[in-house]
């Protein structure tokens, strides 16, 4: 209960940022649902708003076009899972637009605040541009720039893409070589089908790459959680000290402690909450849509030969990954996240 209250306090404090960054839905075609931060799932219609904490899920025939208040356009293509999140980057709240699987095209005309764009394998910094992001069923990604520039980072390495340039990043790897743009008309399903074939041809290697991505997110989530525990404990001690000062009639000292120590500790704790939630939710998306999707493909492929040594090996490793996730990440999630 204490954890839930703390998350709610954090949510209330960050509300101004939440409402300043919502996007209006300007076009919908086919099957498109939204799962909100309360865990409610509903059909998306033109005129609806997409807010922080929302995940847009499109079917094979689904397309959703979003218009953030900045006047930019985000087109969520068929077969996509796209989330709008928020993280604290260097002390500054930042929008994070995450494509877990599928294809999303972005056009940013006039940026008031540059968002971060992510896939399971990359983080992108945007500098006024038009580009597309493909996220494969195996956790790989492809970024293709139509105009402007995009910095693509993964595994501690970065490449800067200019006009008509693209880069592919394999799951758990740094971005590859910069290549010529594949064009706006590139079909995600063809690209993804090749990723699936590669994944199914070497399932153990692919599973290990996804596991590595998940472990990285788990490490960051637990690191921020430790920070939150540290600052919260510090804040509790300072509150006690403040009460003692007030009781002793040292009101000026109490107010100074409040302003100079207690308030900064509470703000630091809230930043930690925002970030451990961000990494925990990113890990959940990877676990549900990439790892879960991989499990479905493997189980259905081997359903008539479940004692095949390859499937037995896969299944055992998959169980271990799930056990790690449930030990490290599940305690940082709430029911509505699933």
């Amino acid at each position: 209960m204490k954890k839930i209250i703390f998350i709610l306090i954090a949510a209330v404090i960050f509300i101004p940022a939440v409402y300043s960054q919502e996007s209006v839905v300007v076009y919908v075609e086919g099957w498109v649902d939204v799962k909100d931060s309360n865990g409610d799932v509903y059909e998306l219609f033109i005129g609806d708003m997409v807010r922080y904490g929302d995940t847009v899920i499109t079917g094979d025939d689904g397309v959703a076009e979003l218009e953030p208040q900045t006047g930019s356009r985000i087109v969520v293509k068929p077969g996509t899972v796209f989330s709008v999140r928020q993280a604290d980057v260097n002390g500054k709240k930042q929008s994070v637009l995450s494509t877990t699987i599928g294809q999303v095209s972005f056009k940013f005309d006039r940026l008031t605040q540059e968002p971060l764009i992510t896939t399971p394998s990359t983080v992108m910094g945007v500098r006024g541009t038009e580009f597309s992001v493909w996220a494969g069923a195996d956790g790989a990604s492809l970024v293709d720039v139509e105009s402007g520039s995009v910095e693509v980072s993964g595994r501690g390495e970065s490449v800067l893409l200019g006009r008509k340039q693209a880069v592919q990043t394999d799951s758990g790897r740094a971005p590859g070589q910069v290549i010529e743009s594949m064009g706006k008309a590139t079909d995600h399903s063809d690209w993804n089908e090749n990723r699936v074939k590669k994944m199914m041809a070497s399932p153990i290697e692919s599973l290990e790459a996804i596991s590595s991505q998940l472990a990285e997110l788990e490490a960051r989530a637990t690191e921020w959680k430790s920070g939150e525990l540290k600052y919260s404990a510090e804040a509790e001690q300072l509150k006690q000290k403040r009460s003692e000062l007030f009781a002793a009639g040292k009101d000026d000292e109490a107010r100074a402690l409040d302003k100079e120590q207690l308030r900064p500790a509470e703000i630091s704790a809230l930043r930690c909450v925002m970030n451990y939630r961000y990494y925990a939710l990113s890990a959940l998306s990877l676990r549900q849509y990439i790892l879960g999707g991989f499990y479905v493909r493997m189980k259905t492929s081997y359903i008539n030969k479940l004692d095949d040594p390859l499937f037995v090996d896969f299944s055992s490793r998959y169980d271990n990954i799930i056990a790690d996730f449930n030990a490290e990440i599940a305690p940082l999630l709430v029911e509505a996240d699933y």
């Binding site: 099957w31 799932v41 499109t58 079917g59 879960g292 999707g293 189980k299 359903i303 599940a330 029911e335």
Partner: protein
């Protein structure tokens, strides 16, 4: 004893107001005929497969298309048992937070858990009423 047993079964069945055995066997027929299109149409928007929560038609389509491509069948399918879904049934699909959340959040009232025995093993199927009143596939798992 036999009479008491029959009475107990009758009482148990009489309390069921959700989808019946025929609907469950119809699902088995669709699986056996590899009719993934009908299975997709009959599926809820969020479906539990083993202990994985599948959100949306793409993931759910991958399940039914995958089973059809593998030629998977529930040969000689029979309903071994069925009962209204209870929260505790989540553990049948796996003792993980996902199954507990699914049973808490995504199973509507009057849903029914079917234990299907087949030549290929025992499977679990949950059917429940959709918003349009038609029966929806909510969960599938096995063999157990």
């Amino acid at each position: 004893m036999l009479v008491i047993g029959i009475l107990l079964i009758s009482t148990s069945c009489a309390t069921l107001s959700g989808p019946g055995e025929n609907t469950a066997l119809h699902v088995a027929d669709l699986v056996n005929s590899g009719d993934s299109t009908s299975l997709k149409a009959m599926s809820a928007d969020t479906l539990l497969f083993d202990s994985e929560i599948l959100h949306g038609p793409v993931m759910i389509g991958s399940l039914w298309d995958g089973l059809a491509s593998s030629g998977f069948m529930l040969k000689n399918a029979e309903i071994a048992d069925y009962s209204p879904v209870e929260t505790a049934d989540a553990s049948l699909f796996g003792n993980v937070p996902d199954t507990a959340v699914f049973f808490s959040e995504y199973i509507p009232e009057n849903s029914v858990l079917f234990h299907i025995s087949s030549a290929g093993g025992n499977f679990l199927l949950i059917l429940g009423p959709g918003s349009d009143g038609a029966s929806r596939i909510l969960a599938f798992g096995g063999p157990y």
